[in-house]
């Protein structure tokens, strides 16, 4: 029993923590204001006026829609691949002890532990050596590789909490391996997989560093934004897209948090 319950924090600590949280959140809130500004050419503050016309302009931009569609397709397929590979790996690592187990977990974590640029350039030079042209699938190849770890983390945490005796009981009652998986294992890990899948989707949807090396001429949403950041063409459209991207990534995160909130706080421990 900890004796510090109910005790209140020193004022200095409260202020420092509050400032830190404000520092983390105010910049993102600012995006929402800029999406409505009437100013076209500069980032002037305060906004000279507020308008919703840029939403209509953005809606009618085919390049934005193409980028969005590509991003969603890449994220969906990468997530599907990561779900299969991550679950298999997590099941193997958590249910059995074998030689090289540590190496396997290291192998899974490595693509996000090393800077993204290394993953990116490594893939690109491998494509060049093997004469693979850039395509939709080269993007997926890169994304799936670093999405595995998110699914893996969530699934491993859940497997650890799932009692092995339930599987044994199922087997004792005559279920074969596939039935046990379908009726016992899957319902137990389903929400963890859903959470991992959502995070993997968000991760892939947002990825830019590896994508710049594996995309060739195609534009995902982050690549489109990067172009706009380096060579701004129409700032108000960028503002609106930025706001939409914030909303699109927030929803899966909140939902993933809701799914894993009791117990495993592993959901985002490694991005």
């Amino acid at each position: 029993m900890r004796s510090d319950r109910g005790q209140s924090a020193p004022l200095g600590l409260k202020i420092a923590a509050a400032c830190g949280l404000l520092f983390l959140h105010l910049p993102i809130l600012l995006i929402f204001v800029y999406a409505f500004t009437t100013e076209e050419k500069s980032f002037v503050w305060p906004p000279p006026g507020l308008t919703t016309q840029w939403f209509a302009v953005t809606w009618n931009r085919p390049d934005v829609w193409e980028a969005l569609s590509l991003s969603i397709r890449v994220a969906a397929i990468s997530t599907a691949i990561a779900l299969v590979l991550g679950t298999l790996c997590a099941a193997a690592v958590s249910q059995t002890r074998f030689f090289g187990r540590e190496t396997i977990s290291l192998l899974v974590i490595l693509p996000i532990a090393l800077p993204g640029i290394i993953t990116g350039i490594a893939l690109r030079s491998a494509f060049a050596l093997a004469d693979i042209p850039f395509s939709f699938w080269t993007i997926v190849l890169g994304h799936a590789t670093f999405c595995v770890v998110v699914v893996y983390n969530n699934a491993v945490a859940r497997f650890r909490r799932t009692s092995g005796s339930m599987i044994e009981a199922s087997m004792d009652l005559g279920a074969d391996g596939f039935q046990t998986f379908r009726h016992i294992v899957l319902p137990n890990i389903a929400t963890a997989l859903l959470a991992g899948g959502m995070l993997a989707f968000a991760l892939s949807f947002d990825e830019v560093i590896v994508t710049t090396f594996t995309a060739g001429q195609q534009q995902t949403v982050p690549i489109w934004m990067l172009e706009e950041l380096i060579r701004p063409r129409q700032r108000p459209v960028t503002n609106v897209v930025a706001m939409v991207v914030v909303l699109v990534t927030l929803l899966p995160i909140l939902f993933a948090y809701y799914l894993t909130r009791d117990g495993d706080q592993i959901a985002g421990s490694g991005k």
């Binding site: 030079s125 039935q179 930025a242």
Partner: protein, 322 residues
């Protein structure tokens, strides 16, 4: 009793009949030979990561031992250490030093900003507040990386909100004085190293908060109380009790902040000066310059630095705090 009452309602047989055919045979096989099942489960992920990822890494590493012909611009596929020698040219050493210094400063600043948040969340926040703190760190962590950088471009721009705020507070002279300094200054914050530094700290801060909080959660509150009972001032308690116990968490967080700063090339490109960081050097060497061997040799630098860093971190017990 309760079992008897439950019996009539159980319509399905308690024990499933064995399923025959191929599926049953496979299931029996896996039961008898768990190693085979393990092998089959590991095969797809290991093949994928081994071939796609490790294979590419080795392809990259191999290319760092090639060299480029300076006249024809063609890549000479023979083993040489010449490309690594090029890394030690003054200009390239400058890039490496600049990046490592930035990574160290960013790590230090993140640790300082992260500590109060992590400590409050670990020791004082309870129930709903705890969840709020958790989400308060997770949401910025998972928000779009580019949008975060874009937000700072809006903030740091000459006509942006920061200048406006400082003007309202009559502090513009302070900003001007800071910008007129050598190295850290520049035309405006969005084209200075100060701007790059702020954005790096902002973007990687959640990666520091989470492990520090995890480490602090494990410090029993009565340790802190015992320390003050024995007459230590809050400062002494922090130095002698809290900080040593939080250190593995800080080191774990610094792995992320350090490694991510070493490899990033987008932040300094969008908010910063024209002087390069390692990531930008890699990007321009492989892109416009077409010098893949030198780009590959450059990527070896963060790998080696991180290798030593991880080795040191492991000795400090940082991995238990992850």
């Amino acid at each position: 009793m309760s079992l008897d009452a439950a019996m009539p309602r159980a319509t399905a047989p308690a024990i499933l009949p064995g399923s025959g055919g191929l599926r049953g045979a496979l299931s029996d096989l896996f039961w008898r030979r768990p190693k085979l099942l393990l092998f089959l489960m590991l095969l797809p992920p290991v093949l994928w990561l081994g071939i796609v990822y490790i294979g590419s890494l080795f392809a990259l590493l191999a290319q760092s031992f090639f060299s480029i012909d300076e006249f024809s611009g063609l890549i000479n596929r023979e083993f040489t250490l010449k490309t690594y020698g090029d890394l030690f040219q003054a200009a390239n050493l400058d890039i490496i030093m600049r990046t490592v210094t930035m990574a160290a400063l960013v790590t230090l600043a993140s640790a300082i900003v992260a500590f109060p948040i992590a400590y409050y969340a670990a020791r004082y926040a309870r129930g709903r507040w705890k969840a709020l703190f958790y989400l308060g760190v997770m949401l910025p962590l998972w928000s779009s990386y580019l949008v975060k950088i874009y937000a700072w471009k809006l903030i740091l721009a000459k006509e942006g909100i920061l200048t406006w705020l400082l003007a309202k507070l009559n502090l513009l002279w302070l900003l001007d004085a800071w910008l007129s300094l050598p190295i850290v200054g520049g035309n405006s914050l969005s084209v200075s190293f100060t701007g790059t530094f702020i954005v790096f700290v902002y973007v990687w801060l959640p990666f520091m908060i989470l492990p520090v909080q995890a480490a602090l959660e494990r410090v029993p509150g009565n340790l802190v109380e015992a320390s003050s009972d024995l007459g230590a001032s809050p400062g002494q308690t922090f130095r002698n009790v809290l900080f040593p116990l939080a250190l593995p968490g800080i080191v774990a967080g610094s792995i992320f902040t350090f490694s991510l700063t070493l490899g990033d090339y987008i932040i300094p490109q969008i908010i910063g000066t024209s002087r390069l960081f390692i990531g930008q050097a890699v990007y321009s060497q492989q892109g416009t310059a077409g010098n893949i061997p030198l780009a590959a040799a450059f990527t070896v630098v963060p790998i080696v630095i991180m290798g030593f860093y991880l080795w040191g971190a492991k000795r400090m017990g940082a991995f238990d705090a992850l």
